[in-house]
């Protein structure tokens, strides 16, 4: 599916919260005229990425608006004049590779670039590894392992040179010795395109197994290098840095044209939408408009998911805007999305979840303990290491909502820990047994409710 330009709507709604870290504050006023690429929100915090207007036009309002994460968030509504006049202060340059690492980081920050694989971690922070943990290898992640999503795949075919050059910029910024690209082996054309583009720099393109979740950062590092990122650590601890291919392409584009991140490639797919496409959508475009642009809904009304079907978030409203981390919009018909979860936790101990877990955890046991509200049992099972990739719940023959139970369990364990700590600090010892048991019961009830 070729990447086509997305819809051009009357207005865009750009949330101030689009990346990991501090939420931006608006730096424009209602009624002010803004241009495409003009910074409209910023934060003084280091871990934060500024936001820019994706259209030229007038700031119509600063309001609370639904956010793909589920809650509301403040957003800037810009009424488009449909001219897309670029901001005049943008600096274009021919070869961004001549920049120094500091300049690269500064420009990446100003361009508002975040990890585009869905994580939305500000890239300038990532490009600044601590001096005592040098990066030896930069891996570009071209393994878009979620079903339905194909935006990165098309990007690798259509813009391999941008990806490679973006990778070289990252490599320069972190001072890495090596640059590698990992792509699932069934995407031959993408591998060929990247090999062709990377020839002058002798860049290694590694075919990866097509097995979900190959594209998860930790799984990817283990597949390519055989090394495991220590628990609670970062890839930096083993000298690795993983960046999405989309992020690399965006870095090259933003640094060479000067245009900050104002749009992104996303996949519209699923059996509940008339047309399926890869689109380059302006940030702030409402999901409703994107779906209508693709022909609207078909079939019984079902789920609208932002992200992939394995880890994406189901939306209660389609008024949410497209943000920097929106990798796809998946529309599933009422007939197809999964809904027959058992009323109680039932397990036939088939062991499929244990075999599939990419983190080598024991999902069925975590699910059982979580269902029973036995939070303290979850800690030795390393529940915190679960990446919620969904493999266990997908494969479960009794259709337990293992991921949901694990999420509840993580919350329960954290709550218990903080409670035990406060009790210990108040009394100098853990509280009486009955007390904690009562607490567990109420928690369990809440969880069930």
């Amino acid at each position: 599916m070729k990447i086509f330009p997305g819809p051009a709507e009357e207005s865009v709604v750009i949330p101030l919260e689009q990346s990991v870290g501090a939420t931006c504050e608006p730096i424009v006023e209602v009624g002010e005229r803004v241009l495409r690429g003009q910074k409209i929100g910023d934060s003084s915090e280091y871990v934060s990425a500024p936001i820019h207007s994706s259209v030229s036009g007038e700031v119509e309002a600063i309001l609370k608006y639904p956010h793909p994460k589920g809650s509301g968030s403040r957003a800037i509504k810009v009424k488009s004049d449909k001219q897309d006049t670029p901001f005049e202060g943008l600096i274009a340059m021919d070869d961004p590779l001549t920049l120094s690492p500091e300049e690269i980081r500064a420009r990446v920050r100003e361009a508002g670039i975040v990890g585009l694989g869905g994580g939305a971690f500000p890239t300038h922070v990532k490009l600044n590894p601590p001096a005592d943990e040098p990066v030896s290898t930069v891996i570009l992640n071209g393994s878009e392992c979620e079903p339905h999503l194909s935006g990165d795949y098309r990007l690798m075919i259509e813009k391999p040179l941008d990806i490679i050059k973006g990778g070289l910029i990252i490599q320069k910024a972190v001072g890495a010795e090596k640059l590698m690209v990992g792509v699932e082996h069934n995407r031959d054309d993408a591998i060929d395109a990247l090999r062709e583009a990377g020839k002058p720099w002798d860049i290694q393109v590694v075919p990866l197994p097509c097995r979900y979740p190959t594209g998860a950062e930790k799984t990817l590092i283990k597949t390519i290098t055989g090394k495991e990122v220590p628990c609670g650590g970062l890839p930096l601890d083993v000298g690795m840095m993983v960046n999405n291919v989309g992020t690399a392409a965006q870095i090259h584009e933003s640094l060479s044209t000067g245009m900050p991140m104002v749009d992104r490639v996303l996949t519209v797919d699923g059996d509940g939408v008339a047309g399926r496409a890869n689109l380059r959508v302006k940030l702030g475009t409402r999901v409703r408009d994107v779906i209508e642009y693709c022909g609207g809904f078909v079939g019984e009304r079902g789920k609208v998911i932002i992200g992939g079907p394995m880890m994406g978030l189901a939306q209660y409203t389609i008024d949410v805007p497209v943000i920097k981390s929106t990798t796809g919009i998946i529309v599933l018909r009422g007939e197809t999305y999964f809904k027959n979860e058992p009323p109680h936790f039932t397990c036939i101990r088939c062991g499929r979840c244990v075999r599939r877990c990419p983190m080598n955890l024991i999902p069925y046991l975590m699910g059982a303990y979580s269902d029973a509200g036995m939070w303290e049992q979850l800690e030795p099972l390393k529940i915190e290491d679960c990446t919620e990739c969904g493999s266990c719940a997908y494969i479960c023959p009794t259709k337990n909502s293992l991921v949901q139970l694990i999420k509840v369990g993580k919350g329960g364990l954290a709550h218990r820990k903080s409670r035990m700590e406060s009790l210990a600090s108040a009394n100098g010892a853990p509280g009486p047994e009955e007390d904690t048991e009562d607490e567990e019961d109420t928690e369990e009830e809440q969880a069930n409710a």
Partner: protein, 371 residues
């Protein structure tokens, strides 16, 4: 910087209120935790494939054993399915007989029984299997012991005479299986193992070889499900192709028995083909609920089954050890699962121990401080 939200114009006010005010129902979409798609495999599907895998053996067993064998298998299935339905009715639980797990239990129980039992015996076996084997523990997935083997064990210790002497060759079977019959000198009254346990050890290896061919292709003695090693292996291959069982259990279990029997002086092929070993290793020991979850756990489990089976076969008064070996190892499964956990990604092996020590000591220290 305009920190204060502007006075909303009428249209924005409407937009702002949207998430708070309940929108009309057609505007709302279904939400739920990820993943939003699931694999098609279900419990009933798995159980259905187990039934399909056992079917060739069942049909041949009934063909050899005649109507008597059919009655045994049917009564045992009626016993398990009926008991499950009644128990769940009494406990006001959803009735889950359609997940076919009770059918599988009944079928496997019937196949481990001799063909010429009085009809009420497999019925009792089925009832006991479901009650004491499964539902006292809370139903599917909670039982410690293989329900079918629990049922068989109760029958075995309660009516040992019936269980060990009901192997008389059915007249029809003799006609069908003339080739097999020729290979046997006398019509045995028990499994070859029972007969052989009475002869001296050095004769074992010699006389055993005589039975190999009929044991593999088809024989008129033994339990209903022991009629043909070939058809047991066909069932195993079906289960392996569908990815329903782990190859480690049957391979390690049978391998252990063969090696130990060879060391103790028995023809290893005979050790493999005789008694309920293959049936037990392929269909009983591989029961999901009652064997360990991890690959190494399964190896330990199968190894234990093999050792106990051989010990019972050679050193006890019982003719066959498969049933008690599997039941014993079922009991050890939680222990195996506890100590053979997979090493989580990003953790080191020994880290676990130090943490355990830390966890064990910390509360004591705190309690001491409090005291």
């Amino acid at each position: 910087m305009p920190d204060v939200e502007p006075e909303p114009a009428p249209e924005e006010a409407a937009e702002e209120k949207k998430p708070k005010k309940a929108p009309p129902p057609e505007e709302l979409f279904v939400i739920g935790a990820s993943p939003h798609i699931r694999a098609h495999e279900t419990t009933a599907g798995i159980m259905g494939w187990v039934i399909i895998a056992v079917m060739p053996l069942t049909i041949y067993g009934i063909y050899i054993g005649g109507w008597a064998a059919f009655v045994v298998v049917a009564m045992s299935i009626i016993g398990t399915v009926g008991t499950e339905a009644i128990v769940q009715r009494i406990r006001h639980m959803p009735i889950t007989v359609f997940d076919l797990s009770a059918v599988v239990t009944g079928l496997l129980l019937g196949l481990t029984l001799p063909p010429r039992l009085p009809f009420w015996m497999p019925l009792i076996g089925g009832i006991v299997a479901m009650l004491l084997g499964k539902h006292v523990f809370g139903g599917l997935g909670h039982n410690i012991f293989n329900p079918a083997l629990v049922g068989r064990a109760v029958l075995f210790v309660s009516w040992a005479k019936y269980m060990t002497t009901s192997y008389l060759v059915h007249p029809q079977a003799a006609v069908v299986n003339t080739a097999t019959i020729k290979a046997i000198d006398t019509i045995t009254k028990a499994t070859p193992l029972t007969a052989l346990s009475q002869v001296r050890k050095h004769e074992l290896a010699i006389s055993g070889t005589k039975y190999l061919k009929p044991l593999f292709f088809g024989n008129p003695w033994g339990q209903i499900g022991e009629v043909s090693a070939l058809l047991i292996l066909v069932g195993l291959v079906i289960l392996l192709i569908r990815g329903l069982v782990d190859w480690r259990i049957p391979v390690v279990y049978v391998g252990t028995v063969m090696v130990l029997s060879w060391i103790l002086g028995m023809n290893p092929i005979f050790a493999m083909l005789s008694g309920g070993l293959l049936f037990g290793a392929c269909f009983m020991a591989t029961d999901y609920v009652t064997n360990p979850m991890t690959a190494w756990g399964k190896v330990v489990f199968a190894l234990g089954c093999g050792i106990v089976t051989t010990i019972i076969r050679f050193y006890s008064s019982l003719p066959e050890g498969v049933m008690f070996a599997i039941l014993l190892m079922n009991g050890l499964t939680p222990l195996i699962d506890r100590y053979l956990r997979p090493r989580p990604y990003g953790h080191k092996r020994h880290e676990k121990k130090t943490e355990k020590e830390a966890n064990g000591k910390a509360p004591e220290a705190e309690a001491g401080a409090a005291a």
